[in-house]
Symmetry: C2
């Protein structure tokens, strides 16, 4: 397997560190808009890589489909691994198809709210623009494995595992994400891409119900306190737009699918303020710059003003938990479980030099690629993680020394 990794930010860099310990691929070309970032990622793992020459760095603009296609061809890559933010999903998804490569991402193409009733009806949904091209991937015999990070990704694998082995009937699949991470010396330092966090938190959250289909609510709706395992404890969670709600119902039979994120009051208040000030917007404004009046996206400025979450690992403390709560029946009796994966920042920093949240995202696409490389996962078209058998994935997660857990509720 020859992989083109696009994006050498926090998640991309962690991917190189995790992959360097595995044998399933022959080559990984690490590319970024900023060549220095790609080179730094490669330099950091060359010493630890098993044969020292599998990684190389390249510069590429992820928004330029033709350039990405050319890079795939130049290095004869058979898979494109997208580790950029969701703005770049469509050109990268298109480039892989054009170059005859498989494609894997950790976030799907962007949604657009319903023009008249944004808090009731879906407009363009997450991933719609990718599923629209599923037949092209299928006809080309290529796999587009979408939403294959931790959430979406591992959370979807958990849903499939619940359906396969733990339940006869599922009433609700509820993804629940929470953490007790703190960052020394910062009033406010999000532990994940603020661009993506704003996107998912301020868009109308999507909910699935079998008899109603997909629908939306107002941001931060249906708050509930969820008790997270391994010492994290209770965190207030609210509905957030997330890919699992769109993916799970396509392959898993469930009455209801939700996603709730443990944001906490302070974070919610800050996001609301950004929205009220219009600073969450991506549409550019004309602003004075050293190059003259230029078009600037306010959300890019918010991201630039905050510390890069990937660099905060040594100031972070605590654990992050991703997981899937499932309620239903097994053998005629009610059952409720929480399938989860916890990463302690101290452990991920010591073992990989990566902070917990980006590391937890990064491990899953590496495992998925290993399953594709070994033939344990096969398929063509646009498929979510729950389209594949869950057991080999969960076993490999344990083999990567990052065990998952199951709590009966």
């Amino acid at each position: 397997m020859r992989i083109l990794l696009v994006g050498a930010g926090g998640v991309g860099t962690a991917i190189t560190r995790i992959a360097a310990r595995r044998d399933f691929f022959a080559q990984m070309v690490v590319s970024d808009y900023d060549l220095g970032r790609a080179e730094a990622a490669v330099a950091a793992i060359t010493a630890s890589d098993r044969d020292g020459s599998r990684f190389s760095a390249a510069r590429v603009d992820a928004s330029d489909q033709a350039a990405v296609t050319a890079l795939l061809r130049e290095h004869d890559c058979d898979v494109l691994l997208n580790a950029t933010d969701p703005r770049f999903v469509l050109p990268l998804f298109g480039a892989a198809l054009e170059a005859g490569a498989s494609y894997l991402d950790m976030a799907m193409s962007l949604s657009y709210p319903h023009p008249e009733r944004p808090h009731e009806l879906c407009g363009v949904k997450l991933g719609d623009d990718q599923f629209a091209r599923a037949e092209e991937y299928q006809k080309a015999g290529l796999l587009a494995l979408v939403g294959m990070g931790v959430e979406p990704g591992l959370s979807d694998v958990f849903a499939r595992h619940a359906a396969d082995e733990l339940f006869d009937e599922i009433e609700e699949v509820g993804i629940r994400d929470g953490a007790n991470l703190t960052v020394e010396g910062y009033d406010f330092a999000p532990s994940f891409s603020i661009w993506t966090t704003i996107e998912e938190c301020l868009n109308p959250p999507v909910v699935y119900e079998k008899d109603r289909g997909w629908f939306t609510t107002a941001p931060f709706s249906e708050p509930e306190v969820f008790d997270f395992p391994e010492g994290i404890g209770p965190v207030e969670c609210v509905n957030v737009e997330h890919e699992e709600v769109l993916l799970v119902p396509r392959w898993v039979d469930a009455e209801r699918v939700t996603f709730k994120y443990g944001l906490g009051d302070d974070f919610i208040a800050k996001l609301k303020t950004l929205h009220e000030l219009g600073l969450d917007r991506t549409a550019p404004l004309t602003v004075k710059t050293d190059l003259g009046p230029a078009q600037v996206s306010p959300r890019d400025v918010v991201a630039a003003a905050l510390p890069d979450p990937a660099t905060l690992g040594d100031k972070m403390h605590g654990k992050t938990c991703a997981g899937t709560w499932v309620k239903g029946t097994k053998d005629g009796k009610p059952r409720e479980v929480y399938l989860y994966h916890v990463v302690d920042n101290q452990w991920s920093m010591r073992e990989y030099g990566s902070q917990a949240v980006v590391w937890q995202t990064a491990i899953n696409p590496v495992i998925a690629l290993e399953l594709v490389a070994t033939g344990a996962w096969t398929g063509a078209g646009v498929l979510g993680p729950e389209a594949f058998p869950a057991r080999p994935f969960l076993d490999l997660l344990n083999a990567y020394d990052s065990p998952w857990g199951l709590r009966e509720q």
Copy 2:
């Protein structure tokens, strides 16, 4: 008198509308970085101006001292009226001196916090960089009348009036500013320049005490509820850095001088969030733009994302109050008064097409220039409004149909 007005934003435009009704000047050149703004201001008052030809428009970059000097000379102006934001004070202050013109502004040169103990000691104070050149203005026989808007400006005139006519001894001069303005259809729409509001609210507030001199506190310190007149009612006020605290003690004998601004909880929370996110900063960040990666000041982006306060007049409701609360003794008895000026937005929109806050700022420099033109106010050097007799100013304010008030407490 021939005036170069620099800045045709909200305040500058209101100045042209107020001045158009007065006879004391022969020419007003209205200049702006954006020529269209200057032309629009001129076009709007040409019909109402008494002789139709006193106003003309010009383009100028206020940060370019040489260009401003040349413009003053080209139009043979004897006074520069600065209606830009405080970043441009120094080049404009320098240009007037160079061209042999008098100078008037509504905000003074910027402060810089004390590098080690910003919430206790002053660093560079507001206006320090202007007072440092007072002798040059004095030797040239030129007047630099600084801080001559409403606050600072009219508030300083009130302080002088209190010292001249209402008190024998003054314990405290406390400027208190509050409003009950609302803007239809906006979650958040500041009624004055957000650039300036951030500057004054997030800098450490300065306080004067006779035995201690000037010192600073933490932002938003010493909250108090002040009851504003004419139906505005009680508003929570906090210490804010403002020019009056630096100006009043130079000419008025008082034990203590403070400035408190009625910001309200919601506004304070938003300013704190901007600060926590680093979006109040003026130091540029590198951000992607349509012209390539460029240097962008986050505070400029905040300003660009919000509606222009000067355009909100027809959606605003309510009144704004500026004033000076004075506590001391008269004829051996304790006395406490609040000298104030209230503008109703409905009135200022109907009479001048300008919203209340910018109109209230704009009227004061026009009155001051009229007093200079008629010889009622004379002087050379760098002088604050309280360096001049207050009575002629207050009488002229009544004559402009915008009466002030006095409330015994």
